[in-house]
């Protein structure tokens, strides 16, 4: 799923520090940039600019939160999957997302923040997660649409991150991308079954495409003129392609897939430009995107409430585990002493 959708101007943290840099720092920064330019991986113990560290913590933790929150809209259909084969596939997929959350929190922890701290930021509303998960999944076709479109968009965003300059993030992304591309194929196959099914199933598939198309395009983040962090992140090789480039790639890849399904993309302005070989598409309504970022999406409140409830309801369990571990240590010490 996600990454660039949070590149809005309201985000803070990526700008290089305005204070004066010392000569020594300037030398370190110069050396750092040389290493990045030479495509060397930056590792946790290496010197890095504060802004680079902050940007990575923000991006990796938002990505981790998105995986965890993303478990909810799909988890919504596990108990109602229409065949046992589909149920197993969906369970495995949502489990993979939990696993991605784990690797990503671990990658963020290499930058000196704890998972509990990051989760605290998610639950307090301070940290963001991908807006796409603030849309509901009212029908089974939404599970197909998420796999096909949302995971499809995520792959476009994430494959370049496998070459991100920060080693732990890049390595986490290699594994994540492999699983995401499997999810994407699974989602498309689910849509295909619906598109080739009864009239009611086809209607379900078209309805899901209608609802997920524009939000999927918004996953790439604001247009290049609007994006706050692009140039610095490109220089740091955290980001390799601009939001608009990636969005275009996604549209070019997805339109023929929709045609194969016999479904209609809900954009009357969509057309192939024979000269460029690219699809041209209509203007994105950023008002909706901005409202969701502000917390006004259809499911913002439910998603955070569900995460808070899980955390609060689980407090006694986590406390018990800690208490039991302490008792065991004490007993072991007593035995040894």
């Amino acid at each position: 799923m996600y990454t660039q959708g949070l590149d809005a101007k309201t985000e803070q943290g990526a700008q290089p520090s305005p204070r004066l840099v010392t000569e020594q720092e300037a030398a370190l920064q110069g050396r750092f940039q040389e290493r990045v330019d030479a495509e060397e991986k930056i590792e946790p113990r290496d010197w890095m600019p504060d802004g680079y560290r902050r940007t990575l913590v923000r991006q990796i933790s938002q990505h981790a939160h998105s995986e965890i929150v993303g478990m909810l809209p799909e988890g919504n259909w596990i108990t109602r999957a229409p065949t046992l084969r589909r149920k197993v596939a969906l369970l495995a997929k949502v489990q993979d997302e939990g696993g991605h959350g784990l690797y990503l929190y671990s990658a963020a922890e290499t930058l000196g923040v704890s998972r509990d701290e990051l989760i605290g930021q998610l639950l307090s509303g301070k940290a963001k997660y991908s807006s796409i998960f603030n849309y509901p999944t009212p029908t089974w076709a939404d599970i197909g649409a998420i796999g096909w479109l949302v995971d499809g968009a995520a792959i476009m965003n994430q494959v370049p991150l496998c070459r991100c300059s920060y080693g732990p993030y890049a390595r986490a992304m290699v594994r994540i991308c492999r699983e995401e591309s499997f999810h994407q194929r699974q989602g498309y196959e689910l849509m295909l079954a619906l598109a080739q099914g009864t009239a009611e199933q086809k209607r379900m598939a078209q309805d899901a495409l209608n609802r997920w198309w524009w939000p999927s395009l918004m996953m790439f983040g604001p247009s290049d003129e609007q994006s706050a962090h692009s140039s610095q992140n490109m220089a740091w090789k955290i980001k390799r392609f601009s939001n608009d480039e990636l969005r275009q790639r996604f549209v070019d890849a997805t339109v023929p897939q929709a045609e194969f399904l016999g479904l209609t993309i809900p954009d009357p302005e969509l057309r192939l430009n024979a000269e460029t070989g690219h699809y041209e598409f209509g203007a994105i309504d950023w008002t909706e995107f901005n409202e969701i970022l502000k917390g006004n999406g259809p499911c913002n409140r439910e998603r955070i409430e569900a995460r808070r409830k899980a955390w609060d309801d689980g407090a006694w369990v986590r406390e018990a585990a800690v208490a039991h571990a302490a008792k065991r240590r004490q007993r072991a010490l007593k035995k040894a002493g």
């Binding site: 965890i68 478990m71 909810l72 988890g75 596990i78 108990t79 109602r80 999957a81 229409p82 065949t83 046992l84 084969r85 589909r86 149920k87 197993v88 369970l91 495995a92 949502v94 489990q95 939990g98 696993g99 959350g101 784990l102 929190y105 089974w140 079954a193 619906l194 099914g197 009864t198 009611e200 199933q201 569900a306 409830k309 899980a310 955390w311 309801d313 689980g314 407090a315 006694w316 369990v317 986590r318 406390e319 018990a320 585990a321 208490a323 039991h324 571990a325 008792k327």
Partner: protein
């Protein structure tokens, strides 16, 4: 295999399949809502294994029955009175403590059962058991470890699991009860003797309860009926949710 024996084995396999499916469903309700991320993953993993076992068992049950019902036909088109799962596994999740107690009481049975079924004279059942036993060994370690952590954790956690244990204990009797219809299967070496299973289950449960500083509840009145299709009110809601799509769109392929 004689017709009677086949019918008895159909009933037995269906009971195991339904029990795995219903418990897998209950665990899958936790997905995204567990006390910590590792548990979200672990509970989902166990759910995944259980639904996997259900698929193998229901497929085999359908073959034994010989009426052309496949795993989905059996899972999605039967009503409450045709389900044969143990009453224990349809009990709601309530909290993590209840879920763990329910899971452990089941896992302790499953690991003893599948271990023995590996030696079944029925090759298909033995094959299914050989796959399942590797997974249920992990399940029982997971639920047993949690039961010990919660029982021997804080006062609150101890009270919660003690309450769950008292509430769920009456549902354990039918897992290991003697059943007339099974006698022929036992005699043919297809399934283990319930008395032996009961002794092994009891020993396993008592050892973990001891580590968890929990008292074993007295064996009073036991709730039974799952084997005959007599269920609690909970199963109807579970099936209504699970079967919604195939019931609403009976002609669709998914």
């Amino acid at each position: 295999m004689s017709t009677d024996l086949k019918e008895a084995l159909f009933g037995y396999t269906l009971r195991l399949g339904d029990t795995s499916l219903v418990l897998g469903h209950r665990l899958s309700e936790w997905c995204g809502h567990a006390p910590e991320l590792e548990e979200d993953i672990a509970l989902t993993n166990v759910a995944l294994d259980l639904v996997g076992h259900a698929r193998m068992l229901l497929t085999y049950a359908g073959e034994l029955e010989g009426k052309g019902r496949d795993e989905d036909r059996l899972a999605y088109r039967r009503d409450v009175f045709d389900y044969r799962n143990h009453l224990l596994v349809e009990q709601p999740n309530r909290d993590f403590g209840h879920t763990i107690v329910r899971q452990f009481l089941h896992d302790a049975w499953a690991v003893e059962l599948y271990g023995r079924l590996c030696a079944s004279t029925d090759e298909t059942l033995a094959g299914i058991a050989a796959k399942a036993v590797k997974e249920v060994r992990y399940h029982v370690r997971h639920s047993g470890d949690w039961l010990v952590r919660l029982g021997d954790g804080t006062e609150i956690s101890h009270a919660k699991v003690a309450d769950a244990l008292g509430r769920l204990w009456p549902y354990t009797g039918e897992m290991v009860e003697r059943d007339e219809s099974e006698q022929a299967l036992v005699a043919a070496g297809i399934v283990p003797d319930p008395a032996e299973l009961k002794a092994a289950w009891t020993a396993r449960v008592e050892a973990v309860l001891n580590d968890a500083t929990l008292d074993r509840p007295a064996d009073g009145w036991m709730q039974k009926g799952g084997r005959r299709g007599e269920h609690s009110e909970h199963l109807g809601y579970l099936l209504a949710e699970m079967q919604f799509l195939p019931r609403a769109y009976p002609d669709a392929n998914w």
